[in-house]
Amino acid sequence: MFLQFLFISSAILTLACTVAVLVTKNLMHSCVFLLGTLVGMAGLYATLGADFVAVTQIMVYMGGVVILMLFAVMLTGGKDFVSRAQNLLGLPASMGNKWTYSMGIFVGVVFILTNVKLLSSIIKTTPTKTIGNDFPSTVTQLGHLLVKDHVLAFEISSVLLLGALVGAAIIARPRKQN
């Protein structure tokens, strides 16, 4: 009962915010709607019994990525995307125009059709388990997986992050005046 409620509300939050990301005129709002999408995704993870992934989603995206994006929006001219001259569709130029939107919709339709073709057969043929209402703790299992089976990925991810840190810090570091 509650599970269904959680699923429906999360799904609605996710989908609504996703669409809002697409259609909103303001990049800042777009980022905030992305936040909503991500929170909804966390809810969906929770309905799948993936508590750790859900909280990771909140921690990394909400605490990190979204704030970073908001910073980036501010740093790349917060006013720019609002004050720019608007085009026929009433959207700021940098947020897309009629042509790009129609292209996007076209691609989206093509993709959905393709995906429906794929999914229809996949859903039919994939044997799914019957799921009880159990909500086992995933943390210890994930810990064991990270330490045993996926230890290499675990260690390499640290190197990946180090690389990302160094690379991004070099790129973003304030330069001397030319």
């Binding site: 509300s9 990525v65 501010m74 740093l75 943390v139 810990g143 640290s158 840190l165 810090a169």
Partner: protein
């Protein structure tokens, strides 16, 4: 008789909902009770009585971004460390403490390298870039 297990998530949702309700309720109350006398002066941003010049949405120092950048990397690393940390004790009691320690320390050592790099390169200094650019300009 035990309750359904997913109900354990209910308080989270309830508290969030309560926050929203409280917020809406507060607004409702203030709509009911608060006076409404808008004027142009009230709706200008506060700048100590001066006429505001330009929008506040202007560009900021890249330093903020660099801090955010370092943060997100460390954030993700600590996320990955949480499951390992929470089974650390269990592994230790199973007699695999040394192995877990090596895994854990080699992960952390990379983290330390990251912070050492940023420290070395001055990304952790807030003022350095300002002073640097000031010196440049005075020359």
């Amino acid at each position: 008789m035990l309750p359904a297990q997913f109900d354990g998530l209910m308080p989270v949702v309830i508290f969030m909902a309560l926050a929203v309700l409280l917020f809406l309720g507060g607004h409702f109350l203030s709509v009911l009770l608060a006076p409404k006398k808008p004027s142009e002066l009230k709706s200008t941003p506060y700048e100590c009585g001066e006429q505001p010049v330009g929008s506040a949405w202007s560009m900021f120092n890249v330093r903020f971004y660099v801090v955010g950048l370092i943060f997100i990397i460390f954030d993700v690393e600590s996320v990955l460390m949480f499951p390992v940390a929470s089974i650390f004790k269990e592994l230790n009691e199973m007699g695999q403490g040394g192995y877990a320690l090596i895994i854990f320390l080699s992960f952390i050592s990379v983290l330390i390298e990251g912070i050492a790099y940023c420290w070395r390169k001055g990304d952790l200094d807030w003022v350095k870039s300002f002073q640097h650019s000031l010196k440049k300009e005075t020359k």
